[in-house]
Symmetry: C2
Subunit: 228 residues, 2 copies
């Protein structure tokens, strides 16, 4: 129920060392950052933090997927991002100490590396390597967010789903098959769709040679899909 907080074991250390946030750090810098890291585990649906909370921590996903979402006044939820293994989220708290501006929830069983915002904030000013790592992360998160706005505003539901599928196909391949890394309802949220709309989008993509069985997606002709 309540998440367990543990010290980093060597397996987690290895995972962390391969994330885009930390992979380019020198051993010295890496150790400094990792010094204050804790590993926290959550069960599916557990809240990690709530919009409005003080941004005491930020996180890198080790395993599983995290859903970032906001509520409107009536309590309806809308996802604004999904973070998976290697992704870092809520790192803006380092730079302005205002409250989290979204809710974060474990979409499934999840383990996270938990950084202390305040101590990393100090590190950043003194360690250029760490600063650079954070800039890369911020930059990549910014690109994704702008991409998301563009996708929402430019593309229909089937087009968004097609885009998502194509991002998961090896570029050169003629045909492809892959497994969704998470539930369809989470994918729907990520794409800004109701689950029903995702389901209908998949079925409209049958015409473009996409077949879906459970979580397995099969694409007859990747280039044909690219054209619609």
């Amino acid at each position: 129920m309540v998440n367990k907080i543990l010290k980093l074991n060597s397996r987690d250390r290895d995972i962390l060392a391969s994330t885009s946030l930390l992979k380019d750090l020198s051993p010295t810098a890496f150790n400094k950052v990792v010094d204050d890291v804790a590993v926290s585990s959550y069960e599916a649906k557990d809240l990690i933090f709530r919009e409005g909370d003080a941004p005491e921590y930020f996180y890198t996903v080790l395993t599983g997927f995290v859903r970032a979402y906001r509520l409107n006044r009536e309590g309806r939820e809308a996802d604004i991002a999904v973070y998976g293994p290697g992704d870092t989220f809520a790192e803006t708290g380092i730079f302005n100490n205002t409250a989290y501006d979204f809710n974060a929830q474990a979409a499934e069983a999840v383990t996270l590396a938990r950084f202390e915002t305040a101590s990393v904030a100090k590190l950043v000013t003194s360690n250029p390597e760490v600063a650079m790592a954070l800039m890369m992360t911020l930059s990549s998160n910014l690109k994704n967010a702008l991409e998301c706005v563009a996708d929402d505003r430019l593309h229909t539901a089937p087009q968004r789903v097609a885009n998502f599928i194509l991002k998961n196909c090896p570029d050169a391949a003629e045909s492809a098959r892959f497994r969704l890394p998470f539930q369809k309802s989470l994918l729907a949220g990520k794409l800004g769709l109701a689950p029903e709309a995702l389901s209908r989008a998949f079925s409209s993509l049958k015409a473009a040679g996409v077949s879906v069985r459970g979580r397995v997606i099969e694409i007859k002709d990747v280039n044909a899909l690219r054209r619609f």
Copy 2:
């Protein structure tokens, strides 16, 4: 037609020195950054850069407004951000040297401070102050982008317009009046709406005490608007 490129004059320097990107820099760091800055002016509708171009420069708006937008396959445009005085855009080019991922266009006559991506990239690694300034900028742009996704997904057109109006009202005020800083069609784009939808949203807000004459917005009761 083609934009003029000038060296920074002292007025531009003053404006730059007050932007959130540069305001906290020491004189030394400020001078280093500003060393390679050029001022470029554009007429309304001029393209500043195109999606796919090499990210040679990034920009801070000195005066006017810039529209960032993307195209879908059919050539329809969708705005993904609007940048005004003090805002910095396209700074992600510093961190990964991939092409610009949107088009930038002067929404009206505009002057920009133009930074060389490559030289700032070098500065960043050696100068912690500059790194910090960029992190603040990235962080703020990231927050805005996520806010935009949330707003698009959670709120109807009238609600988005109401939010925009409220952001431009002094917090405490009972009633308020202000002038739109740019054309309504640009506001429509910023909010992800067709101009017609913006117009209809304004007229539906009459019921909440909002009256519009030209660019002047008048709000009878700010708190009432907050409730719808």
